[in-house]
């Protein structure tokens, strides 16, 4: 299945801003995070098609999956 993954802020460093990915059926939001070598502790918001999702949420064909880090500096 095809899923568009969008990364924000420093998650883009050394990765990408937006990428269409071919993923096996049943892939979860958390698996994509792990495959991108992103530390789960650094995650702020996970959204699929502009709605919250969890690491366990299973992605579907055509989903737009956005991954935001916690940004805390002031």
């Amino acid at each position: 299945m095809r899923v568009q993954v969008k990364l924000f802020a420093f998650f883009r460093d050394g990765r990408f801003i937006k990428e269409d990915k071919e993923l096996p059926e049943g892939t979860t939001a958390g698996t994509v995070v792990d495959d991108l070598d992103i530390d789960r502790e650094e995650i702020g918001v996970l959204m699929i098609n502009s709605r919250h999702c969890k690491f366990e949420t299973v992605l579907q064909e055509g989903d737009i999956y956005a991954i935001f880090p916690v940004i805390g500096g002031g």
Binding site: F8, A9, F10, D13, G44, H52, V70, G72, G73, G74
Partner: protein, 272 residues
């Protein structure tokens, strides 16, 4: 101030003003003559559609300038975001700033904190920010809290600026602001990146952005351009709120990326 004096001061202001503008030198001379504060003189002037000259280029209406003069903004954290926001709001003509920060300036602040200089190292941030703001806008009233924030830091404010650098503190401040029904203009930065939005009763901004009470603690890596950008957005959003302008940031937050020059407005999900 006696009503008769107020009338005489107004007469004086009208005599000295030109094209609806009152210079700082004239305002100070009037304050000296009538033994009142510069702030009193400027308040009377603005009440009667005469604008202090230093706000001329704001190009706001006199009513808008008066509304800002009568506004109170609480700035929580006076480092990178807080110092910049304070500077912008003082220049703009906000009448009263409530500044809260427990810390002193240290050398690692020099890269991004506008009022941190080699001369202010070791000094309380709140004291230095106040001193420098008075040089920019001597009619500015300030209330200073050299401490972590409490209800007293925000309860008289029309709007609060979140310029903190800790997730836990942000969540606490958001709860406090919600309890007091005061909108909070959120901003945060890291490296080339930043985010800003307005946390208020109609949305779940802070609980969306910070689902966990703590974040991984590492020394903040922050570039000064990101700080100046996000502080400008915070100052603009606070000003718009005070002047009654609508903002898309009540239903969204802004993600900024100066490295790739990308700005994204993200709708706050309502499903938590």
């Amino acid at each position: 101030m006696a009503e008769s004096n107020r009338d005489k001061i107004l007469q004086n202001i009208k005599q000295r003003s030109r094209d609806g503008l009152l210079s700082l030198a004239d305002a100070l001379a009037i304050a000296g003559q009538w033994n009142c504060s510069l702030r009193d003189v400027e308040h009377i002037a603005l009440d009667h559609a005469i604008t202090p000259s230093r706000f001329q280029r704001n190009s706001l209406s006199c009513q808008e300038q008066l509304r800002l003069f009568l506004s109170r903004v609480a700035i929580i954290g006076c480092g990178g975001l807080g110092g910049r926001t304070a500077e912008l709001l003082a220049r703009l003509g906000i009448g009263h700033l409530i500044l809260t920060d427990p810390d002193v300036f240290s050398e690692s602040n020099l890269n991004r904190q506008i009022f941190c200089s080699t001369e202010s190292l070791g000094c309380n941030k709140v004291d230095i920010v106040d001193r420098e703001l008075q040089k920019i806008n001597p009619a500015l009233e300030t209330t200073l809290h050299i401490s972590t924030f409490t209800t007293g830091s925000i309860d008289t404010a029309d709007i609060v600026i979140d310029a903190l650098d800790s997730t836990e503190a942000r969540i606490t401040l958001s709860k406090l602001c919600r309890k007091q029904q005061i909108p909070m203009v959120h901003g945060a930065v890291k490296e080339w990146y930043g985010q800003a939005g307005i946390d208020q009763a109609s949305n779940n901004l802070i609980s969306t952005l910070y689902p966990q009470k703590t974040a991984p603690s590492s020394p903040p890596r922050v570039l000064p351009m990101s700080v100046a950008l996000i502080a400008s957005i915070q100052a603009a959003e606070a000003t718009k709120s005070l002047l009654g302008h609508n903002s898309s940031l009540t239903g969204s937050w802004l993600e900024t990326d100066l490295l790739h020059c990308e700005f994204d407005s993200i709708k706050i999900p309502h499903d938590i």
